[in-house]
Amino acid sequence: MKAAMKYLPRLAPESWRVVYAIVAAIVLFLIGEAVHPGFLGLANVETILVIASFVGLVAAGQCFVILIGGIDLSVPWVLNAGAIVLATTSMGLDARAPLAVAATLGLGIAVGAVNGAGVAWFGIPAVVMTLAMNGIIEGLVLGFTGGFTCAACSAYAPPVVQSLAHGALLGVPDALWLWVVVIVLVSAVLSITRFGRATYALGNNPRAAVLAGVDARGLTIMLYAASGFFAALAGIMLVGFGGQASLGMGDPYLFTSIAAVVIGGVNILGGRGHYLGVAAGAVSLTVLVSVLLALNMPDYVRSIAYGVVILALLLAYGRETET
């Protein structure tokens, strides 16, 4: 065993966790093929990856805030509000799509920035701030749309947005191209920019980071704004994918995005982890659900298996070092 270890590359524990997360995703794919032959068919894998990309987008934002020891519980209704704003402001017209997309992303950024301001300036715990924000957005959406009965509420997403979610370029779905761009950008931002290094520094030791010249408040606001941006972006992709917005469409993304981040090897207390692992975590969770669906498992088995697998993966490689 020791002799074999010698040939393995020397990686930091966090980097190993990224490897584990990717291995877990591949193993889950193989299990899927074993229990349901044909699972690894190109069309099926593509579908799974596209669905995983929606989780992956939300998890990108969640990853940013968890890296500084925060959390974003406002994701479900920011996503939902984003989907509704896109559909209602565009009225299904391509001509209005650019403005609608800008408005939706702007909304996400604005809500996220308010979250960040509450955490950074008023010292409100992230759990409380974002939980309250989730309720605030939910109430506003329900109130202003009259419980989603407004005339514009049934509007379809503009064709151009729908084709973004369904179309393909060079044989690869557009949604995956978008995700690849996000993976490259987020990974690059986190590992080679000043912004990224400051994020890790703030997550590891806020005091030391501030003493080293990091603008903790500004950075916190930007990171929460990024989380709002990605939740709104996921809302755009989802309304494009499904055609119409609906109430509660963001709810499944709250716990799933957090699970993807921690399975991806990011420390929930902040300071350590990579987005590549998070992307693998999003794939793992989606594959898991697909396998259980392919096996025609009843709802309750799916729910239990989901929990058991998350805990098993965490016990396998997500444990804290001995104190």
Binding site: A132, E138, V262, A305
Partner: protein, 332 residues
């Protein structure tokens, strides 16, 4: 900090001032509760042209009971610097089990209540073992077990239904008089006894500084397991009260208690950073949360905007509490 500098910053005010500063979270929670009660009475009197009577008191107390128990359970874990997202799942499971098993007589209902409370404690034990022995963060452990408990609840009761004996409903949430207040008093007394016991003291110690308390001989693993088991037991009790109020079961109505119990704990002045606050505060927080809903209802606020006002209220309460608490601590 060397001793000579620390002696300079020791509190020099009166004993009363010291007590106030120590219990500022609880005092603030009590003040908010008082304001909420006054607000409710005022709005009710303005709208209905009479003061709220026995019926209003009874229905408010009864509807608050599940949250009171869930919030007290949550407070045990939050005091250890943890958080329990699986509360909703345990409430679901207890609710579903109650609806399926209780039958028609009070005797069988009480017997099964004991079983269900044990199941809740077992759920807590699982959480506690994973957190303590597994060295995993509470938030991710309970995220996983939430999914497991929700699945089990749906397995027990796939469709809403089942039945709760009326005698059981009368015992837990009597619709004629606010007898349920007795359970709140018992909960408070139980907390007061626990707070003075060894595990109670240890709970605060590990919430404040886990490494230091371990060095001083606190059995961290045992204390955490006790906290999570009590949390699970009380969440199951919340499920029983929920079933008694609804007189039937539903394996998903308990989901909302995960987040509302956290809100109640925060409003009750329990710090999410551990080691500060008390279960009494959590009870106050649960009553405040329930009263806010009532105030919005009698104030004829559009129910669609309800969660908006709840969110705004939560933020105002937390910011105001932080400002006032900080000001009092600084003045000393």
């Amino acid at each position: 900090m060397p001793p000579e500098t620390s002696s300079l910053t020791l509190p020099r005010g009166s004993r009363l001032g010291h007590t106030i500063a120590q219990n500022i979270g609880l005092i603030l929670a009590g003040s908010i509760l008082l304001l909420a009660i006054l607000g409710f009475v005022l709005i009710y009197a303005l709208e209905q042209h009479r003061l709220p009577g026995n019926f209003e008191l009874t229905s408010t107390v009864n509807s608050a009971m599940p949250l009171v128990f869930a919030a007290v359970g949550q407070s045990f874990v939050v005091l250890t610097k943890g958080i329990d997202l699986s509360v909703g799942g345990v409430v679901d499971l207890a609710n579903a089990m109650a609806a399926v098993t209780m039958g028609k007589t009070l005797g069988s209902a009480l017997l099964w209540s004991v079983v269900i409370l044990f199941v809740g404690a077992a759920c807590g034990l699982l959480n506690g073992l994973l957190v303590g022995l597994g060295r995993l963060q509470p938030i991710v452990v309970t995220l996983g077990t939430l999914s497991i408990f929700q699945g089990l609840a749906i397995r027990v009761l796939p469709q809403p239904g089942g039945a709760i004996p009326p005698s059981f409903t009368d015992l837990l949430v009597n619709p004629n008089a606010p007898y349920a207040l007795i359970f709140i008093v018992l909960l408070g007394l139980g907390w007061a006894a626990f707070r003075r016991s060894r595990p109670g003291v240890d709970l605060y110690a590990i919430g404040n500084d886990e490494a230091a308390s371990r060095t001083l001989g606190v059995n961290v693993l045992r204390t955490k397991i006790i906290a999570y088991m009590l949390d699970g037991l009380l969440a199951a009790a919340a499920g029983l009260f929920l079933a008694a109020s609804a007189t039937a079961g539903d394996a998903t109505t308990g989901d909302s208690y995960t987040l509302t119990s956290i809100v109640a704990v925060v409003l009750g002045g329990v710090s999410l950073f551990g080691g500060r606050g008390s279960a009494i505060g959590a009870i106050a927080g649960a009553l405040i949360t329930t009263l806010i809903v009532d105030i919005l209802f009698f104030g004829h606020v559009d129910p669609l905007f309800q969660s908006f006002y709840e969110g705004v209220f939560l933020l105002i309460a937390v910011v105001a509490g932080g400002v006032i608490g900080g000001a009092i601590r600084r003045r000393r």
